[in-house]
């Protein structure tokens, strides 16, 4: 296997509303940031891959206008997944493994502020049986949270602890949307939103973009003092029909973590794509993480959730901490679909 590292990561601030900025303007900020951090230009990139969702913008081909941010003249080798950009990174990583290319730029973007974010993921559901019932994304997550409480494994207090931890960690993250000092008691005193979830159990609506650069050993070492090497990467999917799954566990996250080799060494940090507090508990268990691992040092998804680049953000947040020497080995997780249906796990090492 060829050695590949994340050598650079840039993100736009995780704001509730990016105002007048359009997709192209957000992508330019992230892409220029990632290239700039590495001291390279788009001419140094062999392959570009992105992740985005047409339904956020209410028109087909959101990713097409984003190409205007790349300087793709003359033409570039490029591809796009209608998935979180973490999967775009997987496609690029695969392409590097083929041996044809040495570097890749990956970006994701989403402007959720100007659409009905709570209803967009409803369109992911089985179009014949579930979608016509319009179950919104929070309600679907609440079903899972309820199942988890009923299983007796966790309590609402455990959910609140996840939020306390996220808000506390986010205080050190200048890009976070939500941060601060809270107590479990304070949070539990809040009313429920979609029972048993409270508003703080749900990730915020966020606008933004993120980009990373991948490189093979020779270039990674030339462009980065301490590259974050990808030593394992895998993704798996569970059944879509919620009725056939045990919602209190994540089989696909467990399998992806095993295949990616999460347990092959000590995990200093983990960034988990858990849009709802209870999902962090499910993921932690599935991936075999214990209290020796700092979970979501950036504040994670509850501190800012750019739909379509949140998974790439997790990879970037882990990579940044390895590049800076803050951590030696970390795990980044990305998810897609209702109740964590699909999961991608990346292991990064210094």
């Amino acid at each position: 296997m060829r050695e590949v590292a994340v050598i650079s990561y840039a993100q736009t601030p995780k704001v509730r509303d990016a105002g007048a900025k359009n997709d192209v303007e957000l992508v330019m900020e992230a892409v220029h940031g990632a290239l700039g951090n590495a001291g390279i230009t788009n001419k140094d990139i062999d392959f570009t891959c992105s992740g985005s969702c047409d339904y956020l913008g209410g028109a087909a081909f959101a990713f097409v206008s984003a190409v205007d941010a790349l300087g793709a003249v003359p033409s570039i080798a490029e591809s796009h997944v209608e998935m979180d950009a973490a999967w775009a990174m997987y496609e690029a990583w695969m392409k590097i493994q083929m041996g044809h290319i040495d570097t890749a730029l990956i970006y994701g973007f989403g402007k959720s502020s100007h659409c009905e974010m709570r209803n967009i993921p409803t369109l992911q559901m089985d179009p014949y049986y579930y979608q016509p019932l319009w179950p919104d994304t929070v309600s679907i997550a609440a079903l899972q949270a309820r199942a988890l409480l009923e299983s007796g494994k966790y309590t609402e207090e455990d959910f609140a602890k996840v939020v306390v931890n996220s808000r506390k960690n986010a205080k050190n993250n200048p890009n976070a949307q939500l941060s601060g000092d809270y107590t479990v008691e304070q949070l539990l005193a809040e009313p429920t939103f979609v029972s048993p979830l409270r508003k703080h159990d749900c990730c915020p609506v966020t606008d933004g973009a993120a980009a990373i650069v991948l490189a093979t050993r020779e270039k990674a070492e030339a462009w980065c003092k301490r590259p974050a090497w990808i030593t394992g990467i895998d993704h798996r999917i569970d059944a879509h029909n919620l009725g056939t799954r045990d919602l209190t566990v994540s089989e696909s996250a467990k399998l992806a973590a095993e295949k990616a080799g999460v347990k092959k060494g000590k995990v200093d940090i983990a960034e988990l794509y858990a849009p709802f507090s209870h999902q962090e508990l499910i993921l932690k268990e599935a991936m075999g993480l214990d209290d020796s691992t700092v979970i979501n040092p950036s504040g994670g998804t509850l501190a800012g959730h750019v739909f379509m680049s949140c998974g790439l953000d997790r990879i970037g947040e882990v990579a940044d901490r390895i590049i800076s020497g803050e951590a030696d080995r970390g795990v980044a997780h990305a998810s897609s679909g209702p109740c964590l249906q699909q999961n991608l796990v990346t292991v990064l090492e210094g």
């Binding site: 339904y55 081909f61 190409v67 490029e78 591809s79 493994q97 992911q124 999917i237």
Partner: protein, 386 residues
């Protein structure tokens, strides 16, 4: 050097139609099962699934890979969803090939589809946006001015477009999967109404439901496969912006670059001579001469001569037939259309194209494009291992 990969199974909808009476899951499953049967394997033999399709707006269904996990036997496996506009069927094949060529997977299933009957594609492409004049007259309205400029530059005779349409639909009569299966009449084609001048109704592709699937495996498994493999000798994807100052739209640079890249990988220096047949994405018939130039089968300005000389016609015994399946002009399930080109090319070099087989076909080109003719995907498949 990448690991060798080969197409060992191809599956398509029994026939592409305006409306296929099946659920989306049923539609993709039919193609997938046909591909598995050709490859002589079962769901358990598949390591990953790579799904491709054009905008989610076409069916009003977001990220369909999630809902299709069960139907495509993917539970507990990796699933990826590619979307690169109209070129997606081709890009998906390239990405799927990379799963094997990277050495990470031994045998994968790749599936593409479109179920245009479940929504309104013309509407999906023309949703009103507040900042631009609302003049998006569908894909035909976008491409007609480019075709007009091609006609102006090359002084191509006006009947070239109808002749391509006639040729492709004659080809389609021998392809049981083809949507349009009606004996064409050149006189009627030349008299058919203008939709977007200079484009006539007869020069425009249909709107179809349909799916296409392939099983791609590594060398070991390809050699054990029951039917002959199609070896993937090169894959390429290239993109450029929809618009930029003085962009060359008739003969786009990205298409040139994509062709050069794939020919280099496959060791091709004279495509017209060395490629035995090509399945090229031609949704408006005039794009055959345009792509003949863009893909270096003809000198710039002379693509239309290939058409008039019958070089691209199987029925006229042309030396390099294009779109013997009937092409996009005869079937257009958008998300699958690119992959059908790639799969038909594979069937030809495997010698499995039945009545539409080009005799002695050893090297074939699959091509797809999308967006404002700005996204390109190509592959070269061969009957002999490269």
């Amino acid at each position: 050097m990448a690991i060798q990969a080969a197409v060992v199974g191809v599956g398509q909808s029994e026939r592409f139609r305006t409306r296929i009476k099946a659920s989306i899951a049923g539609l993709v499953r039919e193609a997938a099962l046909n591909a598995l049967e050709d490859a002589g394997c079962s769901w358990d033999d598949i390591d990953a699934v790579i799904l491709g399709k054009a905008p989610d707006f076409f069916e009003g269904h977001l990220m369909p890979e999630l809902y299709l996990a069960e139907a495509l036997g993917c539970i507990g496996k990796p699933m990826l969803r590619v979307h690169t506009a109209g070129s997606v069927g081709g890009s998906t094949a390239c990405v799927a090939a990379s799963y094997v060529q990277s050495g990470q997977f031994e045998r994968i299933l790749t599936v593409t589809y479109e179920k245009q009957s479940e929504s309104n594609a013309m509407w999906a492409l023309s949703s009103k946006q507040p900042f631009n004049p609302h003049l998006n007259a569908g894909a035909g309205g976008f491409f007609a001015p480019i075709i007009r400029e091609y006609m102006r530059r090359t002084k191509a005779p006006e009947d070239v477009g109808c002749k391509v349409a006639y040729k492709d639909r004659m080809h389609a009569l021998k392809n049981p999967h083809a949507h349009v299966q009606e004996e064409p009449n050149l006189e009627e084609y030349l008299a058919s109404p203008m939709l977007w001048e200079p484009l006539r109704f007869s020069e425009v592709c249909p709107s179809s439901d349909g799916a296409c699937a392939m099983v791609i495996s590594n060398e070991d498994l390809a050699k054990k496969s029951p039917n002959p493999p199609a070896w993937i000798a090169g894959t390429s994807m290239r993109s450029e912006p929809t618009m930029y100052p003085w962009r060359e739209e008739v003969n786009p640079r990205a298409g040139n670059d994509c062709a050069k890249d794939v020919y280099k990988q496959a060791g091709i220096t004279n495509p017209l001579k060395e490629i035995d047949m090509a399945e090229v994405y031609v949704p408006f018939s005039w794009y055959e001469p345009m792509w003949a130039e863009n893909l270096f089968f003809a000198e710039e300005g002379e693509g239309w001569k290939l058409v008039l000389e019958g070089t691209t016609s199987r029925d006229e015994g042309g030396s390099c037939p294009w779109n013997v399946s009937g092409g996009v002009m005869s079937s257009n399930p958008i998300g699958a259309s690119g992959m059908i080109r790639f799969a038909e090319a594979a069937l030809q070099v495997r010698g499995m194209a039945e009545d539409r087989q080009v005799d002695g076909c050893k090297t074939a080109l699959g091509h797809a494009f999308g967006g404002g003719a700005q996204f390109f995907a190509t592959w070269i498949v061969k009957s002999d291992k490269p």
